[in-house]
Symmetry: C2
Subunit: 434 residues, 2 copies
Amino acid sequence: MTKKTNKIIEPKILRGTRDFLPEEMARRNLVQQKITSVFERFGYDCIDTPAIEYAETLLGKYGDEGSKQLYRFKDNGGRDIVLRFDQTVPFARVVAANYSQLPMPFKRYQISKVWRADKPAKGRYREFTQCDIDIIGTKNLLAETEIAKAMLAVFEKLGFKEFIIKINSRRLINSILDSLMVKQEDQPAVMCALDKFNKIGRAGVIEEMKLICDEKTIENILDATLLTGTNSEKVEKLEKYDIQEVKNFLRLCSQAGISETFLEFDPSLVRGLDYYTGIIYEVYVNGVDIGAVCAGGRYDDLCGLFTQEEFSGVGVAFGFDRIVVAMETLGLLNDVRLNSEVLVIYFDEETLPKSLEVWNQLQSTGIDTEIYFEPAKLQKQFAYANKKKIRFVVLCGPDEVKENAITIKNMDTGKQKTIPQSQLDSYFKGYTNL
Amino acid sequence: MTKKTNKIIEPKILRGTRDFLPEEMARRNLVQQKITSVFERFGYDCIDTPAIEYAETLLGKYGDEGSKQLYRFKDNGGRDIVLRFDQTVPFARVVAANYSQLPMPFKRYQISKVWRADKPAKGRYREFTQCDIDIIGTKNLLAETEIAKAMLAVFEKLGFKEFIIKINSRRLINSILDSLMVKQEDQPAVMCALDKFNKIGRAGVIEEMKLICDEKTIENILDATLLTGTNSEKVEKLEKYDIQEVKNFLRLCSQAGISETFLEFDPSLVRGLDYYTGIIYEVYVNGVDIGAVCAGGRYDDLCGLFTQEEFSGVGVAFGFDRIVVAMETLGLLNDVRLNSEVLVIYFDEETLPKSLEVWNQLQSTGIDTEIYFEPAKLQKQFAYANKKKIRFVVLCGPDEVKENAITIKNMDTGKQKTIPQSQLDSYFKGYTNL
């Protein structure tokens, strides 16, 4: 590295986008691998769709209203393009275009980047990762059950000890509001108010509802939805409403081995104004104030934009970035290392052939091993190993070459040891899990 | 799935972009996992950069000339944006912005999508995957050696038997052309002609060179570069030129265990008009006429756009899409399956609890298992298993429930067998590699 002078460009990136350097990337990759392994355990297969699509295709659902949040532009051929803003519309398109050749019901996962032309803020990015599973082509509640089981398995696999999958039914909410004579056209606003319970509290919800309902109705709504007790106690209190779906779902969950410790029926759960039609879910992690880390539910007619065939589905999105933050906060990613296990020292030109031989030997026994690229001072090479958190440094200097030996330094303990080269493989067999 | 009528949008995608359905994605994921595992074996760490960047940042190198090939647009805030078109410029930016906190030399891999507003054609896409490794911050030839060793390891890991890493030195080419009195300003055109040897043959190359050099010079250039024989025979013939770098590199490669079977010194290799300054590489696979599947070389001052610090580096890009095509052509991806190993049949409502129990049991022993979502006809459920190439189907009908037994059908052989439920785990232990 020598100095020179010429005009330089500031190496900056757009606000709301991120570079991920090795240590952060190692943590993200580990999280993604663990999530993916659970998806595969349940038989979800991976698909991928283009990041750029025709605006007309992706915007059918949102029209011009959503377009302020979109990266939308004309390409060189004058085509109207948008960057993918979620994975749901592309999934619907893929199913509509390919359903005759897909296994049905169709289960897929997709983990990819999406883009939103949002104002960036803490935890809100213009480019971020979405991570979805969906089942399409069945109305059976067993699909909802499997999704709940998969959510549970993901958060267990990631090492979370205390978390809760909250569930509710849109059918139930609608039946409560219908029974309490809330007019169809007022129901969205009432649900919207209820959805803010965690943010604005009981008093705030009442304040908002007053714009729509009389006080008696509000009281009835809150009595029906803000319940305490076990899941079955809550179910019992709601027998006069359309509770059958929730009952069946909870029974299936129990048969599928999902403990109530992790599954809470919350009749006040609304899940925004989205297109859900049946069971809805949200997952919260104790000890991290970051909102839902996973959410979704049953939706009917997902592919209606693209085909006359009707497909009902159920799916959830895992908040990848939030999950990483939650795990970092709880110390679940403290032990993540970079890739190398061993650094072979480049002592000098004379001994380099032996060092190359040792490098070969370690690599061919399956140990992630690198060699330093220059005959730099030992101190500098050790510093490199420390910076990359490499656990072992292997040295073949003139003394070692003479005696067919290897000196190994454990960088965690600082201890070092000289052994015959022939014992190298067996030495490392005990230390690595490769 | 029931029919309905309303206006539908054609579920089409842009030419030059692709949806990847599960079977293709399974193959791509396997290829990526294998490549990644080799990168990690050599101590390359993963980084990621945004897909959208300031045009000014990414275009410094190409100016307006390259911009026809780019997706470039103004965002809602009027910022001039481009989609990432390679991983090299973003890597240079990352190094320039972070070098004081990175380990040096710095080794990274990046596998991500890039976008080119090219005319789509067979094998040329507007959105495709790049897969790069680079070492930055050392001028030592050991870096070139490691890259060659990593290339070899990648193609071996992927299962290729016959492939060749061609190498040459830009220093050598320049010294040949200097010695033969080709003027500095004519050298790029001469190299460009030579680079087309595989496409247009000896006669074509001579035709092109005639526009620049006299016939004697052309003959000398071809005599010096179109050599046959072993690597050391070629080296010997070029002793009067600047051959030292090639000699040292070949010696290091040999010490690092790279067999000459896979490494060919080709003095006519040019590697386009790119910014290389030392050793260059191209990898070809026998039996697949698809061009180079991996290429790169040494470049000086990669980060010059972004910083006054000078960084020399060496790196190669693996042609991910070409590698997948080559592997498919050679039958190296024929055995790739989707994720599920076992499908549990949903026989009827009565027996569902037992089926759920068996599903739990298999999953908790680490076997990728799914359950069918509806009590459909057995034929339909078997067809689903066949479509997903699921190897085993497990049935717990009324007879099985009565006797605490399980019927297992091997979908590959068609054979079936009824065993006590207690033997389920041990039955599958022999069949799966999980």
